[in-house]
Chain length 338, copies 4
């Protein structure tokens, strides 16, 4: 047991969570931590005295005992670090968003494939009880056809230095959308505005269109006085609201919608739309920490050569939309085909 | 007293409210009601036995005792009816949206001006205690610069026959935006989708951009399992949330926001953004029916030759955005300059 | 049709609702209205021109065309008015609370029985979709044994002149409890306080105990800054929350509770209580006005000599608890057996 | 610095929080931990390798380096442990409820006084930003006279083995009441019911009366499907709602209430009560962990011989009410004078 030795690069906000979970997992053992800040490394040492620490990621990658590397650094460094990790023969778990460009993501996906290594993008939400429950519900056909996917993720701060609010907040919801809607998006429209000198957008709106009139929309905002984290999914049979801030009932399934009567002569002038207002149902959701589930899955993929649920391809699909959104945003909201 | 005699054209959903309020007002007297449905007219007669009723609006317009006409019919009829009413020398109150095209609205505005008649567009929200309180607050400079205006108006139904969800629901929030933000919008981007055979969009998103990085966004949806009617206004000093469904506290004013430090050498690498999280304050709002206030204002404008707060110009400005949104929507979300 | 002619005594707050519903019902016809205030009678006349009005209830009772009388006057007048109405051979619908004393209620119940007349106490809540849904749910055994019934009904005002907050607000919830718990209460404890010179309690708490460890509790308050109208019912299998102010989901049924393991040697030191946290379910509730349903039921009882759901007996049971609560309150919270 | 050496007795649910906070505080140093369970001690060792651990509390008390002892064991052991700790010359911080009887509490208060030792009862809520803000507000006279204090603390579980739901949950709210209302309670009435074989009440209601018509009420329940933690405080000038589960606005101050007109001849028949409905205000609350503040205060009291805010007297006052509640409960809800 604990036969997968892991190194973590980046010990800022998320790194310590990765370290704790790798440490608690029965299959993985945390061996090495890397960060440019010695302060952060010392704090890691305090809680995990037996860990090796370094400010030089290359020495971590050179360590032949290390089987897997987790990369939790700023986005613009992902490509270089993941590439070198894969080239050093390490399995990789990498923070979202996967890379800064779709081209980089494609290169890494191909590299991992050639090397036969596991590459998992940390789309954490996919491993929550809530999202898995919604996925099961939709896969079972209970929602019917997906009509729309509407997401709001707003609160005050934290402003990022290197990316705008879309690259910071939307990957969460884009990864959920990517997991739930098994269609290929065809176009992206993004609008937004910046209110600080650096010019990075702090409020933005992204529309993603699919075939068959499926529409997805993402509202992200670093300047909202209230915190909202809500996804509404409309379907032809039922509708779902996922409110991540509701401590008791995160998922509500509504037996609501419309019924279309068959057209007849009369109906040309009359409404063919009838409303259906039925019960609401809030399933109990398992409360296991998503990252714990994800790291178990990572270990399982490594040991049993499985394809991760949130593999490089899923990371690539999210980056493609982010890239298209940036392009649309720059031109003031033009439609960008994918 | 009661010296302004009024005729109402259109006795569907909104007409009876107009009739009741004209009847209760001290300056106005409801004399004539018109509708194509004799059933609706009979129901009006039951509650207002002394009223004249007709299915022919021309006979109402010909009545020389009538000083003012209220038009509460489907949008596509507004232009013709308002034009004839003005030409008959009547003051006019007309439902929102004002007209189907900006050109029509311009013609009517000019006609009313030439005739010296009062033309009021029924942007009811402007006459609520909530919106007037927000306006006062912003006019007093307490919000600081407006950063964004974000509106959500979603629920299940009612599907309209002749217009899509933008023309049906967005005029409410566009008129609020028009009242609050005293800038000229410069561009519109709209996306949406339809899920019924008629092809009218049932979910849509509209972005309106102004100079100085002010952005407004409107989410309208006829297919939401939950009802949301919320506007968030972000400013440089404070922020406001208007939740029309909160029975107790419709307006919340947050002393929250960011403070920008002056740039210095160090700040190139450090965040210049600091968060300010202060108190929240929910002012008591007067509860007078908005339509009552509006009709008092209409009578006052007629008697004292005042310019209505929601005059033809404001109706025109809203229609211009609706028209631009339709154009953008048709092209899948291109940017349309106004 | 409309063969039951009705007279209404008392045209204050609730009377007009009774008149409107008797007027709309297919079996009843409103013929006569009585109030001490001529102003109120005039307002009734305006909306119902064909109605007879009087300030003398005796002339109403003398009218042989009148089959049924609704009494919507202050509590202390109920006994006299209902008695005379029954003696005049009229069926009676009377406001809650039924009477000022249990003895009065008993007399009226007996009188109605002897005369073969319908006597219905206006426990309106019993005719709402919400309470009927809860009753069905419990009758079907889905709640299991009732453990507790906890009710909160608080808001600012309206202070009453003649009764304290218990007699004003608790009858609503006591009638719901009486409908749902089919056991006989055995004791009452009430505490409260008054903060106005008149000395009528404006905040009070009432505990009603049954056999088998069933406990009910009522919190009523005229001086609360927030409005709460919530009932929680705990059972051995499931639990129900009824929130009358929730516009969308008035009833929530929780698959939550405890499971008791069989005692064994070990369990002396270990907890035998295990928690069960399952799904939540909010059934769609019909939205028909309760008073409409009640008056249909009243007409049905008269025509078909049925026993009303909220008959004099149910009114008497509620008054018995109110009387016991008053006694307990006066003595500072002693236990009063029923 | 760190010159107060501390030992903790009891390492169950709360003990580890005490240890962490004593460890983080600049004035205190955690030296010794005691528990009957070796498992729990090992877990403590893991996080605090330098700590001494023992299953024998006497060896901890004998350690002359220890200046202060924190007792976080079941209630029935408090008296014995605190007594021995004081007799060994240790300052004491003890969990709530302070003791099982008022007599025990009195003995300990006297003993601490005689020994000149600091005795602090862990009424944690008193050290939250929320409660201190409410206290400041009331002390400044802004609430006016206190009219009532209404508390609800309900959720599913955790059932305790040795005490009923009153002794488990009510001490939180009783300590808040004791802190806020600076009057002596005069009587207690308690009702409740048990639904498990052990016979410990799982739902209960406690009324505490003061002079001047001040009333306090406590609803505690281990069997509620929903979690509620709410206190409403009514005053002659304003009213406060403290909702501990609201992540954003824990305290809301309402400018609501009634105004009493001076009595005159006419007012005998007219209402003298007028309603005042003004603004609501939610002050920003500091978010510092209450236990951190409390332990700083404990250290400050020890070093500077100050009287703790939550001293033995406050613990005694809470126990007196608990004891009276138990007595009232046993007799089915009789009034017990204090």
């Amino acid at each position: 047991m604990k036969d997968i030795k892991v190194g973590v690069i980046g010990c800022g906000y998320w790194g310590p969570n990765l370290i704790r979970n790798f440490s608690d997992n029965y299959n993985t053992d945390i061996k090495f931590a890397c960060d440019l800040s010695r302060d952060k490394l010392e704090r890691i040492k305090l809680r995990h005295p037996s860990i090796n620490v370094t400010t030089d990621y290359k020495s971590l990658l050179k360590d032949k005992d290390i089987h897997a590397v987790a990369v939790a650094t700023p986005v613009f460094t992902h490509y270089k670090l993941v590439k070198e990790a894969l080239e050093s023969g390490k399995h990789v778990l990498v923070e979202k968003p996967f890379t800064s460009t779709a081209r980089e993501a494609e290169t890494l996906v191909n590299l991992a494939y050639k090397k036969g290594l596991t590459l998992l993008v940390d789309h954490t939400f996919i491993y929550t009880g809530s999202i898995r429950r919604i996925k099961d519900f939709i896969s079972a056909g209970e929602l019917g056809d997906v009509y729309y996917f509407d997401s709001v993720r707003v609160n005050l701060g934290l402003f990022q230095h290197d990316v705008n609010v879309i690259w910071d907040l939307a990957p969460h919801d884009l990864s959920i959308m990517d997991f739930i809607i098994e269609e290929k998006p065809v176009s992206v429209v993004a609008t937004g505005a910046s209110h600080t000198p650096r010019g990075l957008e702090d409020v933005a709106y992204v529309t993603v269109k699919f075939r068959d009139n499926i529409i997805a929309h993402f509202h992200v905002n670093w300047m909202s006085p209230v915190k909202i984290r809500k996804v509404i999914i409309g379907g032809s049979k039922k509708m779902v609201v996922f409110d991540d801030l509701d401590p008791a009932e995160k998922i509500k399934i509504y037996d609501k919608g419309i019924t279309l009567s068959k057209a007849n002569e009369k109906s040309v002038y009359q409404s063919m739309v009838q409303y259906r207002i039925g019960d609401m149902y809030a399933p109990a959701i398992t409360n296991i920490e998503a990252l714990k589930v994800e790291i178990e899955h990572f270990a399982d993929c490594i040991k049993n050569k499985k394809k991760p649920i949130t593999d490089g391809e899923s990371g690539l699909r999210v980056v493609r939309i982010l890239e298209a959104a940036s392009k649309s945003l720059k031109k003031g909201g033009v439609k960008v085909n994918i």
